[in-house]
């Protein structure tokens, strides 16, 4: 009993329980709608893992949402709710696209410039929220939502500027190839590359059929770095102190306003990096007219939530999310079930994560129950 209680209290347990519950609810919904759940889940997983390139695509899809997840998780450690990750992602995508089209630089220069510019753009977008919060106490959720819409319409405006709009398309021109962060994009198309790859079929498939890029490595590196900053540096100590107890932090001489600003700057830069990875890493390497938010930032909220705010947890939650987003489309194609089922599943998982408090209460009950028995 006590062991059960102890296991139940671990954050990873509630995540797993939430995931299982998500599958259960999805199974019920599928069955109710007349689809075979096993077949659907089979399709989901084969859509994620059946071929090396699927795995590669999952990684490609996961990289940006791991980064937006990190962004949200980071801000959350300072008790800021960065619902503005979406907007920060969008402005970064805009800036990267514009510069990527206009700057005629070789790859070793263009890639760092674009990464820096995207992070700066996202950072400014997030920092604005932090500044308004620190200076005037305006709630970050309100300003973030406003800035999301501003970014949204700004993006649509820019897409339609004659200078950048690709005629007879819904988007801009793609960025220059020297701004791509795919793995050896030129080599793999060269005769030597083709020859080398033809000897290793799986690698050939991954390399040729997907936009294998450095995004996932960047995401994992950032997760580790964010973890280090939060838990091992003085700055992280300060940010977390502010997050846990703003009054005590101020009393102890921490400049709370500066911490809030700094936190939103970093958080925004992480979302901005997500935008960089998406534009520079995968086709179509441009921005196009948005009819609705693409949810790269909002999915980050769910990722951070499933990860319980843990930076390293964001890697796994982001992979899960990316996998479901990508594999979910196979469910639709193979079983005919609408991809909304996958949304239901993700929704349920997030929902049950929200109930994880309940699970730890349950654990308390269990512990108490066994204590009473012990008497």
């Amino acid at each position: 009993m006590r062991l059960t209680a102890k296991i139940l209290k671990k954050p990873i347990t509630s995540a797993l329980i939430a995931i299982v519950c998500g599958f259960l609810v999805a199974a019920v919904v599928l069955a109710a709608a007349g689809y075979n759940p096993w077949q659907a889940f089979g399709a989901l997983f084969s859509g994620m893992f059946a071929r090396p390139k699927y795995v590669s695509n999952v990684l490609i899809k996961a990289a940006p949402i791991i980064l937006t997840g990190l962004s949200v998780a980071f801000a959350y450690k300072t008790s800021l709710f960065n619902i503005g990750a979406e907007g920060q992602y969008i402005v970064s995508a805009i800036v990267v696209t514009l510069l990527g089209i206009r700057l005629n630089l070789p790859a070793p220069l263009l890639i760092p410039v674009l990464l820096a510019a995207g992070m700066l753009a996202g950072g400014i977008w997030g920092g604005l929220v932090g500044l308004l919060k620190a200076k005037y106490g305006i709630h970050e959720v309100i300003t973030s939502i406003m800035l999301n819409w501003i970014a949204f319409y700004l993006s649509n405006y820019i897409v339609n500027l004659p200078a950048f709009h690709q005629p007879d398309s819904t988007g801009t021109y793609p960025i220059r190839e020297s701004g791509y962060i795919m793995l050896l994009p030129n080599w793999k198309r060269s005769p030597q590359g083709m020859a080398a790859l033809s000897r290793i079929p799986w690698l050939r498939e991954v390399m040729m059929r997907t936009d294998v890029n450095f995004g996932i490595l960047i995401a994992v590196f950032m997760a580790v770095l964010v973890g280090f900053v939060l838990y091992r540096t003085a700055k992280g100590f300060e940010l977390r102190a502010v997050g846990f107890n703003r009054d005590a932090a101020q009393f102890a001489g921490i400049d709370v306003g500066r911490s809030l600003l700094g936190s939103m700057l970093i958080s925004g830069a992480l979302s901005g990096l997500a935008g960089c990875v998406a534009i520079m890493g995968a086709a179509p390497h441009n921005i196009s007219t948005l009819a609705a938010f693409e949810n790269n930032g909002f999915n980050g909220l769910s990722v951070a939530f499933i990860a319980g705010g843990s930076p390293v947890g964001c890697i796994f939650a982001g992979l899960l999310f990316g996998g479901f987003l990508y594999g979910g489309q196979t469910v639709q194609a193979d079983v005919g079930a609408p991809s909304e089922i996958i949304n239901i599943m993700m929704g349920t998982i997030v929902f049950f994560m929200a109930l994880s408090k309940l699970i730890s209460t349950l654990a308390d009950r269990l512990a108490k129950g066994s204590a009473l028995h012990a008497e």
């Binding site: 609810v25 919904v29 109710a32 709608a33 007349g34 859509g47 071929r51 390139k53 695509n57 899809k61 619902i83 959720v141 649509n156 339609n160 005629p167 007879d168 398309s169 819904t170 988007g171 793609p174 040729m208 059929r209 997907t210 936009d211 998406a278 995968a282 086709a283 179509p284 441009n286 196009s288 007219t289 009819a291 609705a292 693409e294 949810n295 909002f298 909220l301 769910s302 939530f305 987003l325 990508y326 489309q329 196979t330 639709q332 194609a333 193979d334 005919g336 609408p338 991809s339 909304e340 089922i341 949304n343 239901i344 993700m346 929704g347 349920t348 997030v350 929902f351 929200a354």
Partner: protein, 366 residues
């Protein structure tokens, strides 16, 4: 916020599923009529019943509008479903949530050994070109985009519509019906496709004006969006208050706002792509239909019959019955409709060639 959104999604989808389960018959009735003619280049093709029907597989990737967009994605899917019903071919679709999904979705369909893969909408042109290069043994087709030898290999077929033809007809109707001698046009994003609608429409209005021997002005405005219905409503409202009594739109979701404005001003709107009368039965004069599903079905049949469909652009117009007017137009005087049908025959017979861009419009007027 997100939580709520997800939760809403759960609730809404449960509701959707419940209603979907309630009506068990598959959709697709709108294009259930058997096709009589083929595409222009393939008009001699025999009707369905080739030998490889049973193992023929066709699939499509929607653009970000999704499969229930009330527009060409939905229509295209209905076309594939109709194909399946008639010939037993296997059909399926994948929805794209973002532009970056185009490539991965097309790739996934290539794995499933589909014989013909459709991309719906010109936004997918680049992705289709790349996919076709990677899979030279598969056939691809794209709706609303011509075949471009510079960017596409020869296993890609372009499918274009002569949207100027139905636009000409609705323009003519608008010219006949208007009392204020002012009509309007609301476009989505400026592009060659929307040009077809605009100039075809203007030419049709001119035709009616010449017939009636009067002057009718057309005000034209673009929303620079295909989704912002509020903007469509604002533009149309302005047009109505400026004296227009009929407004035609070629602007996707923006048009929903146009039709709403017509309803509120109690004036007329003209629908596009499908018969949009259901949006405002008293205020939709008629619609310039562009039946993507019919085109998808016809080209798919060609491919099924073993023809090489790639390397060219299919053009669909009134002759192929892939564009046209709805049969029932309760708000339209009978004689106007009959005259429009006469014009339609003239277009089919090439006696009238409606313009599709600024240049041809200039020549048409001259």
């Amino acid at each position: 916020m997100k939580k709520m959104k997800k939760f809403l999604a759960v609730v809404l989808t449960l509701g959707l599923l419940a209603s979907a389960a309630a009506c068990s018959s598959p959709s697709g009735e709108s294009s259930a009529a058997p096709s009589s003619g083929g595409a222009s280049q393939a008009s001699s093709a025999p009707s369905s019943g080739g030998q490889k029907t049973a193992d023929f597989k066709a699939a499509m990737v929607t653009d970000t509008g999704g499969v229930n967009d009330q527009s060409f994605n939905q229509s295209s899917w209905e076309g594939l479903q109709s194909l399946q019903k008639e010939t037993g071919a296997k059909v399926r679709y994948l929805e794209s949530k973002q532009a970056s999904d185009y490539a991965t979705n097309l790739d996934k369909l290539a794995d499933d050994e589909n014989n013909l893969i459709w991309g719906i909408g010109y936004a997918m042109a680049g992705a289709i070109g790349n996919a076709a290069k990677q899979n030279p043994d598969l056939q691809y087709a794209i709706v609303d985009n011509g075949y471009d030898p510079k960017t596409m290999p020869s296993n890609v077929a372009g499918v274009m519509f002569r949207a100027q033809e139905p636009s000409f007809l609705v323009g003519y109707i608008a010219g006949r019906v208007t009392k204020t001698n002012k009509v309007g046009f609301v476009g989505g994003q400026t592009s060659a496709i929307i040009d077809q609608f605009q100039y075809g429409y203007q030419a049709g209005v001119d035709w009616a004006a010449k017939e009636l021997n009067k002057k009718i002005s057309v005000s034209v405005q673009y929303a620079e969006s295909f989704s912002d219905s509020a903007k469509g409503k604002a533009i149309a409202s302005k047009m109505f208050s400026d004296g227009c009594d009929i407004v035609f739109h070629a602007a996707g979701g923006v048009g929903v706002g146009v039709i709403q404005a017509a309803k509120e001003a109690n004036k007329y709107a003209i629908g596009v792509d499908r018969d949009q009368a259901y949006l405002a039965p008293k205020n939709v004069l008629t619609s310039a239909m562009k039946l993507a599903g019919r085109a998808v079905e016809m080209v798919s049949k060609d491919a099924m019959d073993g023809k090489k469909v790639g390397g060219k652009t299919y053009e669909f117009g009134l002759k192929e019955k892939a564009v046209g007017l709805p049969e029932n137009n309760p708000n339209l005087p009978k004689e106007v409709y009959d005259d429009a049908i006469k014009l339609q025959q003239k277009i089919i017979d090439n006696e009238i060639v409606p313009p599709y861009n600024k240049d041809t419009y200039g020549k048409f007027k001259a």
